[in-house]
C-alpha cells in the first residue's frame, strides 16, 4: 500500500510518500503507526504522540481503530490548520 505524510510528519520522516508492506498482523491504523514507529528514530519521532496524529484512508478521515485491509492509500498528518 502507498503511504503519504504531510506537514511535520513528512518533515520528521524525511519523505512525502512510500510504498510499504506491513505484516498481516498489522490490522488497524494504530497498529500501523506502532509498526512504522519501530522502523527508525525518524519514524519514532514523527509518531511520538500517536494520539495527535490524524489518518485518512483513500482520502477519507478515519479513526485509529479503522481497519487498513484493502486500503490503496493511507495518509498520516497533524491536526489540520487551513482556512
Amino acid at each position: 500500500m502507498k503511504v503519504k505524510y504531510f506537514a511535520w510528519v513528512r518533515e520528521r520522516i524525511g519523505k512525502a510518500e512510500e510504498t510499504i508492506e506491513p505484516p498481516a498482523s498489522v490490522r488497524t491504523v494504530e497498529e500501523l503507526i506502532a509498526w512504522l514507529s519501530g522502523r527508525s528514530e525518524a519514524y519514532a519521532y514523527a509518531f511520538e504522540k500517536p494520539k495527535v496524529i490524524r489518518a485518512a484512508i483513500d482520502h477519507a478521515h478515519v479513526k485509529p481503530n479503522a481497519a487498513i485491509a484493502g486500503a490503496r492509500e493511507i495518509a498520516f498528518f497533524p491536526p489540520m490548520t487551513g482556512g
Binding site: 503519504k4 504531510f6 482520502h59 497533524p78 489540520m80 487551513g82
Partner: protein, 155 residues
C-alpha cells in the same frame, strides 16, 4: 440546488468581486450573497509573521471540501457556492481562502458560509507553516476551531 458549485485549490490569488459576480451574473432569483475572505495576518500572539506557507493533500482536499459543500446543499436552500483555497507561500495582507454562498434569503447564505468555513478549518487537509524572525514553525490546531465546527453536528 439550482446553481453552480466551484471548488478550486490554487497558488494564484483570486478576485473576490469577480467570484461573486460569477455566481450572480444573469440571475434574478438570488437575493443574498455572503462572502468570507480569510486573509494572512501580519502578527500572531504579538510576533511578526513574514509569511505563511500552505501545504495540502492533493485529491483529498478537493474531495473533503466537496463532501462539505454537498452537506451544505442538503441543509440549506442554496443557489450557488464557490470555495477557493490558496496553497504555497502567502504574505501578510494576501488572501488565503474564499467562501461565497448564494441563496434567495440571507439566513441560508450566512449559515452555509459559516458552516463551510468551520469545516474547512478543522477537516480539510491543509497545514500552515509560519515564517517569522524567530524562525519557521507549523501552526498548531486551535480548540476553538474544533468547538466552532462541533456546533453544526446534528444531535
Amino acid at each position: 440546488m439550482s446553481g453552480p458549485v466551484t471548488i478550486r485549490i490554487q497558488q494564484d490569488d483570486f478576485d473576490v468581486a469577480r467570484e461573486i459576480a460569477a455566481l450572480t451574473n444573469a440571475r434574478t432569483d438570488i437575493g443574498a450573497v455572503v462572502s468570507f475572505s480569510g486573509i494572512c495576518r501580519g502578527d500572531e500572539d504579538n510576533a511578526k509573521i513574514s509569511a505563511l506557507t500552505l501545504e495540502h493533500y492533493p485529491g483529498m482536499a478537493e474531495e473533503e471540501i466537496q463532501r462539505h459543500v454537498d452537506e451544505a446543499i442538503s441543509r440549506w436552500p442554496l443557489d450557488g457556492i464557490t470555495v477557493i483555497h490558496r496553497v504555497g507561500r502567502i504574505t501578510p495582507g494576501e488572501n488565503i481562502v474564499l467562501v461565497v454562498t448564494a441563496s434567495q434569503h440571507r439566513q441560508a447564505a450566512f449559515q452555509a458560509a459559516e458552516f463551510l468555513m468551520d469545516y474547512l478549518k478543522t477537516s480539510a487537509p491543509f497545514w500552515k507553516k509560519e515564517e517569522s524572525v524567530a524562525g519557521t514553525g507549523w501552526v498548531e490546531a486551535n480548540t476553538r476551531d474544533d468547538q466552532a465546527a462541533a456546533r453544526w453536528t446534528k444531535s
